[in-house]
Symmetry: C2
Subunit: 527 residues, 2 copies
């Protein structure tokens, strides 16, 4: 296995020569456009399909992307990762998040532990705990049932679990399967914790404290905030809190918590939703079976990513097209546009996943690279975005590739027909219309009303946003980001870029400041 910089590969030069050869305004028009839609799609797990007909690729480019995949040994590197090689070289760690949802290769033994069994045991422990809470075996001091679960965590301990919870909250309600309502406290802004505490009944709440190291400043601060509130309500915090942490952290085996669930250094925060980091909360909210269904969807998607054929590996296809757009077409951002209100915070999760993994300018050997790496990721649900920032996407001076997501059915089975169509039909008519408007544009003698087109998009389409579909969606993007990191020769699994700010913030709090840092600290009223 070889780790080479992207611009040292044969395929790099070939792709360079192929750039700007596909005009969407031409290839997406007429019956050949329909043929493209039928041909340019890859099946995913969870009933999903990845459709890339409206991307600026053709058979030649796809063949060259396949050559790139082969030359960069993408599936071999994936195999090395899930087989337990030390892929996170900077931190000298394995990368095992896929193992939380399935066994893709040989068993991984590390530090004398069978890691698959370890993760499974923690999920089982979370499931048993949730069942005891739901059945009334675990109750509050007054012997009453817990009704609310509150996650206290930040970054990967917040965005992924929050996005997943919101994705299924209404689905679960519609099925009468919402076991407990979930809330989230993340920001060190004291107003965040205060606001959540004002919305809940602390006497009937379980707080899930999530910090791998057990030292995350925001999370420990918010824990203290919550403990104060519990004490003020005459309650014993240790009867209301559980911890999700590593076995070596100060939170492990600590009598301050009813229970502790473990993860380890081989699961990065932004990849941890399918571990106990998401599992405890989601099992409490929806029941362990729903959490298991999310993981089954993710496992099935992970299995597809093993296929070396790009036409059968949706994450790899998505990754390669993204690289082509970033490095040869020069696009600096990607907009994620789910036509599903349930996915309202999914773009924020992808923003962390992608930008924290591949927003790096040195390769895995610590050498600066000479090509662009991870793009900016942002997005909001459609149709809302259409009435907001789509103006720039259609008529702005820069091209922004688009990732649509849509479902044939809604989650709550409640709809109205107005002017001859349901809301669901209107929603999906809009996404179909947008793809075509972006791709083909429209001439107009009034240039203010002209749409130049040539604005590429892909869409992931599913039957319904179920737990399996959600798991597949989650894993798809994790694997996409991983493959792009392999192409760019990055270590996608560390995050050294977050360190300097932490160091300087500590200096401020220690009043060890001078120059501009001191001036800003005074401006902000810190001292």
């Amino acid at each position: 296995m070889e780790w080479k910089n992207f611009d040292k590969l044969e395929a790099y030069r070939k792709l360079e020569s192929l750039k700007n050869t596909v005009k969407l305004q031409e290839v997406m028009t007429g019956e050949k456009g329909a043929d493209r839609v039928r041909a340019y799609q890859v099946p995913m797990a969870g009933g999903l399909t990845y459709s890339f007909a409206a991307k600026e690729v053709d058979d030649d480019i796809i063949a060259t992307l396949q050559e790139l995949a082969d030359e960069a040994q993408l599936t071999e590197k994936y195999k090395a990762l899930y087989s337990g090689e030390m892929i996170n070289t900077g931190e000298k760690r394995l990368v095992l998040h896929q193992l939380t949802r399935g066994q893709l290769g040989d068993q991984v033994i590390a530090d004398g532990v069978n890691k698959g069994e370890f993760y499974e045991a923690q999920q089982k422990k979370a499931a048993e705990f949730a069942i005891k809470v739901h059945s009334g075996q675990i109750v509050n001091e007054a012997g009453e049932a817990f009704t609310t679960a509150v996650q206290i965590g930040i970054g990967g301990s917040d965005l992924g679990p929050r996005a997943l919870y919101l994705s299924l909250e209404n689905w679960a309600k519609a099925q009468g399967a919402l076991k407990m309502e979930a809330k989230f406290i993340s920001n060190v802004d004291p107003d965040d914790a205060s606001a959540v505490l004002s919305q809940i009944d602390v006497a009937h709440s379980i707080f899930v404290l999530v910090s791998k190291s057990g030292t995350t400043l925001e999370t420990l601060t918010n824990e203290a905030f919550v403990k104060n509130a519990l004490k003020e309500a005459g309650l014993d915090p240790s009867k209301h809190m559980v911890a999700v942490t590593s076995e070596t952290s100060p939170l492990a085996g600590n009598p301050d918590y009813m229970e502790a669930f473990y993860m380890d250094d081989y699961i990065g925060g932004r990849y941890s939703s399918t571990s106990a980091v998401g599992g405890v909360l989601l099992s409490l909210a929806f029941g362990p079976e729903v959490f298991a269904r999310i993981n089954r969807g993710a496992a099935a998607e992970d299995a597809l990513a093993k296929n070396p054929d790009v036409m059968k590996n949706p994450a790899m296809m998505d990754a390669l097209i993204g690289v082509y757009e970033r490095n040869f077409l020069g696009y600096g951002a990607t907009a994620v546009l789910p036509y599903s209100q349930a996915l309202s915070r999914f773009p924020a999760h992808l923003q962390q996943l992608d930008m924290e993994s591949n927003g790096k300018r040195v390769n895995r050997f610590g050498e600066p690279v000479d090509y662009a790496t991870g793009p900016i990721i942002f997005g909001e649900p459609g149709t809302n975005g259409q009435h907001s920032f789509y103006q720039l996407l259609h008529q702005g001076t820069d091209v922004v590739p688009l990732q649509f997501i849509g479902f044939r059915n809604n989650q709550m089975n409640n709809d109205v027909e107005i002017q001859g169509s349901t809301s669901q039909q209107k929603l999906n008519a809009n996404v179909a219309a947008q793809i075509m408007a972006f791709a083909c544009g429209k001439d107009d003698s009034d240039k203010n009303k002209e749409f130049r087109g040539g604005r590429p998009s892909s869409i992931i389409v599913g039957e319904q946003l179920t737990p399996e579909a959600l798991g597949a969606l989650l894993a798809h993007f994790e694997n996409k980001v991983m493959f792009q990191g392999f192409v760019w020769n990055l270590n996608s699994f560390d995050q050294e870029g977050v360190q300097l700010g932490k160091v300087l913030a500590k200096k401020v709090l220690a009043k060890d400041t001078d120059g501009a840092l001191d001036a800003y600290s005074r401006m902000l009223g810190i001292f």
Copy 2:
């Protein structure tokens, strides 16, 4: 007054010759860095300050930006706008949103109406209505008080009012001044309306239907959704709904609504929060006096924007630096990073405001321009973002300018001291630390741990996020976007880029499809 393309101005060539002359790593270090922080700030209204010390400018560049402001006649054009000239040339409309909060120049008479008086009358009507609801003069069919106000609107009828409501919800609660809880239905996704309806007690809810034209598909669909729910609950929809619309719309003077409040074509959706579009809901939620305080903050900020001196005009300074970054330093995006959980949706409002106003490639005469215009806007609150996408901002291959926002005090006056500092101190220590980390970076022999710095930011700092501060913040960005539109010679007040998608969506719903549009429609299960 002359409307010239930006690249035809003298100042354009001068700025081109000055680019990349300021190295933040040098100018922000040591005591000269502290001097910069003290010198490079402009007072705003509402107790705010715009600080641009960590931007890549110096006295030479600022002097040239002043020349640009003069040459492009920015304050003259602003005066023309608020004096009632037809600035929105594409739609042949005046642009009068500033008039909803104050009289900046002469009275504006249009269509035989004194527009200032008209807007004021609508605000007064909203205030009287809200007071009657709060005092129990207006009640539901059972004679009971209304407790919840639900805005039904999309785009500008949603994002601005929602951002403002969330900005003050906890502030109001902490003061015992939250009169009614507010909710929002926007997306045509039926799950959005279903979810909100499942959270509220419709019998005690007032629905505020907001559509200027009275024909917005999403909004009318959601209205029907809500009417169904009211009827199913045995309630009379006309006793639960008010309309905010134009006087010529089908919603005006319609017995289906308890009351109608009017706006007109001279206030664009994304600029409408201080009109009845925001005013009815915010007056119901917080009382008319709080809404008036928001508008007073905005009016004071609008007045500052009249000053031709860039060192005394914060919106103009912000606009000019943004143009310099976009057109000469080549930065394609701006991240908005409020260190205040209350501003969690403020970046989404700014995303619409900026991207819909200036995401355009033709000038106000319909001629394509040869320079970059509006950037991508995205953002999330800090400290959350630090644990997410800041990795790319610090160490990615592209530079992204940053707009921080911070307050010396929190809103709820509830804090804890841990490890020698309060949460508020930790929050603000982080923003001070981040500004310096981005500007100056840090050398390291391990390039993976190196921060190159040179990443520019500005910060708006205030005492507390009060209604006045919020109004000033809102107006600041409206005026910034307006000034940038003047520099780029754009019409910032139309949005032709949203039309094509609407036309094609109608074709899909009429089953008038072929080619790829038909194939996508089938994939999405529309027919």
